[in-house]
Amino acid sequence: MAIRLAQTMASKATRDAYGEAILQTAAAEPRVVALTGDLRDSVRLEAFAAAYPDRFFECGIAEQNMAGIAAGLAACGKIPFVSSFAAFSPGRCYDQIRVLIAQPRLNVKLVSTHGGITVGEDGMSAQAVEELAMMRALAQMTVIVPADATETAQAVMAAARHDGPVYMRLGRSGVPVLFDETYRFMVGVAPVLRDGTDVAVVACGIMVAEALAAAETLAAEGISTRVLNSATLKPLDEQAILAAARECGALVTAEEHTIYGGLGGAVCEVTAAQHPVPVERVGIADCYGESGTPRALQEKYGLTAAAIAAAARRAVSRKRPR
């Protein structure tokens, strides 16, 4: 089924969509509770705290304890949403997530905002560019990176309905609204946003919009480009990715993360094992970020439509003649 893209220039941060969606989710599901560590404003939980003061737990600046508390709440039937900056959760509480949440498969939803380099001016310590690899390495963990506000809203509700631990990475800055209300997010499904036959771009998060722009550029050059929105990094939609590998013969991955262990790593694992094709990974190299505006950082660190288009050309050129 074709995905209808929103015909709008609107921009909205995925964290803003989270703040609204968690309210709706909480209204529908009384087991939902929320925790944060002195970031209720930044992670957009202020409205939740006001609406559900009994179900909101301020944990102070103590992420290890916060993750452990969430496990205890989940063990007693609650559906805790734990929100901090991605640098701090999972950054500061990895072993609590591993032992108390992932290993016993407890129903905790880790929704972190300020993921990636587009945190911007706060600089590299605040920019989580490796946490998707950490979370993807955990068995029984579902990892989701929504592309826009519409998808975020649906993913929050899907996460609440999903039985088991979820890590969801959201962003600080406004991003284009790609999908209209007809869009349906499903855990583990990577829909084709634009079909193509020469190369396929598998993207997540903010890089989905860049991928769609790159596909336009490439079309003008006669390169037919498929774009997949792989919002679920784990479990990866292997079927969709292998179909793209078979039908297009070359892949590009695009993510706001290092090229190690995130979406690029996941796609290479699947294709190398089951249907090897050239794969070019667009992402952050083996380095950390710095201060700057989100857009300037995207340009400097190669997280743009132009970088994706260049990678697509490389991927196509590496294809074996048929």
């Binding site: 290890q64 508390i69 205890g72 709440l73 063990a75 032992v99 108390l100």
Partner: protein
């Protein structure tokens, strides 16, 4: 207040548990005897006198919860759970074996009666707080007990949790610190000083009791006093002896994480058989 006959029965039970703990660890060939023996009197008092629980219905929503934050002492817990009827005691002999119900550290997905998985130190305590919060949110009257190691208290997350519980006035939460004074490689005070430990808890606004953790009557009354406390969480700093009950294991750092040899086990069992229950204090 418990009658002396009840205390004697608990002491007799704890003595039998000591023997079983040592036997199953030796059978497994590895495990943590020292910290299991220091904690067993407390666990016995909790499961056979103090806590509200129903082994026939381990998912009873109103059951009191126990979290073993010092997860490596789980043989002491498993022995108590088996005796209480959570599972067939035959499973004790599979401790640490492939496919066993009884893992090297507590696993809530495998072991009936285990409500929280633990292992890495300093984190089970936080999960216990989450359980206490859930109980309060749901208006349930259950209580939550967390057993902490003293060495474990070097983890910063213990103090994050201590701050949180008193801030929220969680009076349905009791922590018991197994203050045996030793950690894997030496005395706690040599590795990273904890004292004045009780004063630290007082500074964190907890209701603090300091007791002899091998004096069964004292353990029982301390738990009762904790339960009667309103408005804040309670901690019992239980002075204990690592390896308590076996002369050549007591206070010996080397028995933190090492099974007794069959010959050592024989001597230990003979000592425990010869000693009157509760005589060790």
């Amino acid at each position: 207040m418990a009658q002396s006959a009840e205390i004697s029965a608990l002491e007799a039970r704890a003595r039998e548990f000591r023997k079983t703990i040592l036997k199953i660890i030796t059978k497994a060939g590895s495990g943590h005897p020292g910290g299991s023996l220091s904690a067993i009197d407390i666990i016995t008092a909790l499961y056979f006198h103090h806590m509200r629980h129903d082994p026939a219905n381990p998912a009873w929503p109103d059951r009191d919860r126990f979290v073993m934050s010092k997860g490596h002492a789980c043989p002491a817990w498993y022995v108590a759970l088996a005796a209480a009827g959570y599972f067939d005691p035959e499973h004790l002999w599979t401790l640490r074996a492939l496919g066993s119900l009884l893992q090297g550290h507590p696993d809530m997905t495998r072991t009936p009666g285990v409500d929280m998985s633990t292992g890495s130190l300093g984190m089970g305590f936080s999960a216990a707080i989450g359980m206490a919060l859930a109980g309060r949110l749901d208006g349930r009257s259950y209580r939550v007990y967390a057993l902490l190691g003293d060495g474990e208290s070097q983890e910063g997350s213990i103090w994050e949790a201590a701050m949180f519980a008193s801030h929220y006035g969680l009076d349905n939460l009791t922590a018991i610190v197994d203050r045996n004074g030793l950690q894997q490689t030496g005395r706690t005070e040599d590795r990273l000083r904890l004292d004045p430990l009780a004063d630290k808890w007082r500074a964190f606004q907890w209701a603090v009791q300091e007791i002899d953790g091998h004096d069964m009557a004292r353990v029982v009354t301390a738990l009762e006093q904790a339960r009667a406390t309103r408005g804040r969480p309670q901690v019992i700093v239980a002075r204990t002896v690592k390896g308590k009950g076996v002369s050549f294991v007591e206070g010996v750092v080397g028995f933190h994480g090492k099974a007794l040899t069959p010959a050592e086990l024989e001597r230990a069992l003979a000592e425990l058989d010869a000693a009157p229950a509760g005589a060790g204090r």
